[in-house]
């Protein structure tokens, strides 16, 4: 596909869906977004290990929340 050519309907549909999905994600509460970041960290770690790279960190959200409650 050359630059400037119109995208097929099916691709445009997927892109529109993704744009709507991103908008929905942006409107989630910050607490839920933090949980999603930790999920992304888990995927990134798994991908690093699977491809023989050093593992990347994953936050322990449960521990963070527990400690926050304990110190309040």
């Amino acid at each position: 596909m050359r630059s400037g050519e119109e995208l097929p309907e099916v691709v445009r549909h997927v892109l529109e869906f993704k744009a709507a999905r991103r908008k929905a994600l942006a409107n989630l509460p910050p607490e839920e977004k933090l949980r999603l970041i930790v999920e992304m960290q888990k995927w990134a770690r798994a991908a690093h290990i699977a491809t023989g790279r050093p593992p990347t960190p994953v936050w322990n959200l449960a521990m963070l929340m527990r400690r926050a409650q304990e110190s309040s």
Partner: protein, 167 residues
């Protein structure tokens, strides 16, 4: 996040820092879709007596006394590494001053506003910073007049126009 904020409020109450605010990718969760990050950035304002050099030592010492592990330049709060960045120029100082208190898990967190996050990203101007600036522009509720004022005063309008023209 809440625990980190409480630790920094203590630093503020004891006069170790003057103000602080959440910045970087962690601040984006208040305005945009989440983006992958491995650390939490807190920007702080500190009072440095005339003739003295700025030292991070009092901040680290205080947090260490409170039982937090200091690893290099990071403080581990739970498993989350927190970076402390002393406001390094007038733009960042202003951003910390103008931060808003936003609710998170039932408590208030001082967060840099999206207009200042865009300006700081444009000033840093790496690829991922330009992407963040665009993300904020697309998804956050931006006060355009305020953004234009900040960008004009800090000489960032040209960079912003270049970033926007790539969209």
């Amino acid at each position: 996040m809440n625990e980190a904020v409480r630790a920094f409020r203590e630093l503020q109450a004891e006069g170790v820092i003057r103000r602080f605010a959440l910045g970087g990718a962690a601040a984006l969760i208040f305005y945009t879709e989440p983006v992958l990050t491995y650390d939490i950035d807190f920007f702080v304002l500190v009072d440095v007596p005339v003739g003295q050099l700025l030292s991070m030592q009092p901040i680290y010492e205080h947090l260490h006394r409170k039982g937090y592990m200091v690893v290099g330049e990071q403080i581990l709060i739970g498993d989350a590494p927190v970076h402390v960045l002393v406001a390094y120029n007038p733009l960042v100082e202003e951003a910390v001053h103008e931060a808003r208190e936003l609710p998170f898990n039932g408590e208030l967190v001082p967060v840099i506003t999206p207009e200042y996050l865009i300006a700081i990203a444009l000033q840093t101007n790496r690829y991922k910073d330009r992407e963040r600036a665009r993300l904020l522009w697309e998804q956050a509720a931006i006060d355009e007049a305020k953004l234009n004022d900040i960008l004009t005063r800090h000489g960032l309008m040209e960079v912003w126009e270049a970033v926007r023209s790539q969209q």
